[in-house]
Symmetry: C3
Subunit: 334 residues, 3 copies
């Protein structure tokens, strides 16, 4: 195994590895990795059998192998144990496919899939059971749509995407106006365009545009339970963690990252390379690349300082009161 990973064994090479393991697990025959001083310390007391450690580590009290990049070697190890979900080639007999649908070669359509008129399924695409692909959708080559996902209508997926189970793309944008007696719907006639190599998480919702497109650029990765509202535009290679919400018509640049439960207000404009800590709130334009935190968000350094003071507010109130007393005394003395 060390040979395959390009690593060098410390101690006896006889240790038998059964599977990759996480540092905090309990697998005597697992192989995990540790890189930082903290995780190396933790590794020594872990129940995991063996570790990949940095080349700089001389001694280790457990079976281990040295590698210049333990995390990358561990990723390599994972890929050796990975196995794609098996999908039978062709169309399952229970799939209900409109005669106008264009099906490419080497596709797999699972049980109980419904595909409506005007759809195009490109070569090598996989549509898993219970997916609903509504009118005028396109699934790019090599893209996998996991069970229970919905492309409601007018959704275009690029190549090699993965759409998570239960994700809903192409539902009507949330637009209403008070017509004097009730909230009336603004018709939502636009579409959703997803680039290449985009992964969408489980139970994530991406609404179609009022007019034009809700668009997500190549290489984006969205986690579970994320909301992307109508007419949002996201540049390439972003990473958005779970429960993030992006309100209508916001524009986000390339290589953005957002921690879990962050939110973007509607119509905000965010430049390239902006990173949000978890639970951040973007209320307006962010032009400068960098790390931000808080709601409304601010540069991370400021946020850290503000947070420390915030938790210590009772102390500062006491200091204000003490000042008031002292100043009153000083005034009295005059």
């Amino acid at each position: 195994m060390a040979e395959v990973l390009g690593a060098e064994v410390i101690g006896s090479p006889d240790f038998v590895i059964s599977a990759p393991a996480s540092l905090n697990s309990d697998e005597p025959h697992g192989l995990a990795f540790a890189e930082s001083p903290e995780t190396l310390e933790e590794a020594m007391h872990s129940n995991v059998g063996a570790f990949i450690v940095p080349s700089s580590v001389e001694d280790f009290p457990k079976p281990a192998m040295r590698h210049p990049k333990p995390r990358a070697a561990f990723g390599h190890l994972l890929s050796l144990f990975d196995r794609p979900i098996f999908q039978t080639p062709g169309c399952h007999p229970t799939a209900v496919i409109h005669p106008s649908v264009v099906l490419g070669d080497n596709i797999s359509i699972g049980a109980y899939v419904v595909i409506e008129s005007g759809c195009i399924i490109d070569p090598g695409a996989t549509i898993m059971p219970f997916c609903f692909i509504g009118e005028n959708c396109k699934v790019g080559a090599g893209t996998v749509v996991l069970p229970h996902a919905v492309l409601l209508r007018n959704v275009t997926l690029g190549t090699n995407c993965e759409i998570g189970p239960g994700a809903i793309l192409g539902h009507a944008g949330f637009g209403y106006y008070w017509d004097g007696t009730q909230q009336a719907r603004v018709p939502q006639v636009g579409n959703v365009i997803i680039g290449d190599n985009v992964d969408i998480g489980a139970l994530t919702a991406i609404d179609r545009a009022t007019a034009g497109s809700t668009s997500i650029g190549d290489g984006n990765k969205l986690d579970n339970l994320v909301q992307v509202a109508h007419n949002v535009k996201i540049g390439k290679h972003g990473v958005f963690a779970s429960q993030v919400g992006i309100a209508g018509s916001s524009t986000i640049g390339a290589r953005n990252m957002a921690g879990g439960q962050s939110g973007y207000a509607d119509h905000v404009i965010v430049g390239d390379d902006v990173i949000l800590a978890g639970r951040s709130g973007v209320m307006g334009t962010i032009s400068d690349p960098g790390i931000y935190g808080g709601a409304p968000c601010m540069p991370m350094r400021q946020y850290r300082r503000v947070t420390v003071i915030h938790a210590d507010l009772p102390n500062f109130v006491n200091r204000i009161r003490a000042l008031e007393r002292t100043v009153k005394e000083l005034e009295g003395k005059d």
Copy 2:
């Protein structure tokens, strides 16, 4: 087109419009609208071909049409391009419908729908593929239930509602008590009652009541990924944006609005015409109409002021320190 919208053309009437467009899109033959000075400025530099502008605009550097209410005219334009999802009339042969179900005229039941005993589907209702309609549910006339929605049991929908894809109505309320050795379930024997003209978003959950009803009044609009817990009661014509959460037994008045990711604690009472900024948190009774922000929320004006000070806390801490130094010197001089 100007004639249809009741607008007056500025410049040459020969411009060909292909579709409605959003201001920030890139469609040379699109028609968008601009109303405020900011959006009019943005419109001049946009790539969109033509614009609907307010009647007060004299000159415009692009093909344009004047209208007293550009937004309303754009809504009219959208409705001209809108097309309802096509649904085949009748019941798809794969639908599994219990013999006790009462089906009205002119309904459409899609592929792979399951409807359990005791349900009533009123005339003109549409149930799209993969919906599960459990025991004792009622779907009102003209209501559309989008693919993959679940009415688990004891759910009554009014007329002309739209239930979003993947929405789950009627799941058991989240009620447990510690019985000495474990968290034991409180039986949830109530129901869900949805009024007329209510829209429920994708992947939104509305739990049935412990006893009695979880009720959502006529004309409410709920966005995607919203949580409505057991025994919540919402008045008429509210608008609740994505990822809002409403905890158990809270009562919300008429015409409430809540921005994305807002939350209501359990058992709170909120009056009519209360508007929450995004990410607000309601922790207790709100009686006065108005706009609120923050968590716990406060009147918007106060929230704005507090937020500015909050971000500037390091400055105030420095001022406290400076005061302490000066006061110490003054004391020393005495």
Copy 3:
């Protein structure tokens, strides 16, 4: 009825009860309960017909029954009106079940269920319509999987669990690294292990581990729209309200509770008996049992104090300004 509940009637025993009711409902023949002075006061003005009140109540202006524990008696009442969802025994003919699947006795498999290879369904389990049970999953004895739930792969459920409608268990963990040109997937080869008597809410997502297990201990109760990321470990008997998010590799002890919309950052460690108020944010280790609030969270007492000061910041700023003026005058006098 009073006899069944072990309660003592106040006033005439002739009142006819039709159903349990909630305090704020409108049911003249309903029976609700009231325990605290506030709810007893509310009960007197309620439209509900009758009430269960504490034994200490002497007089009550409505039909009522005394019980030492009104809430428990009401729970008993609810259980009398509860009725499990009816499921036909056996396998529905439309279920697509791989020949390798092992089916126990007395199971119920609903319409349009798909079960893939290597699965084990233990005796007395119920799989409702539209569930997708992917490769190598196990459903424990007596467990109920509600409609539209997905066990994607490598998911093990204990006995007597309830998996909510639309819940997604076993999707790939959200792990990516920048490989120089794009965000590349970290293979997710681990599994999900759910203990006994665990309830998972509607539309809740629990990702499988990168390596090893995402594990949720016996007796946990998760509400709707909750996110549990890869490699999270939760001890026994926790209660997690709606829209809570738990980021990757976090470890949470036994008997934790979290209010709605709370979040746990990744890799945090939380001890036993930690309770979070709604919307709390856990950013690091919490060792001491107790109640916490705020984001980043702090002990509840401190949080309450900080929150009061926070809302009152404009006042404190005015006091700082007043001090500055007075101190300046005092300096001038020297």
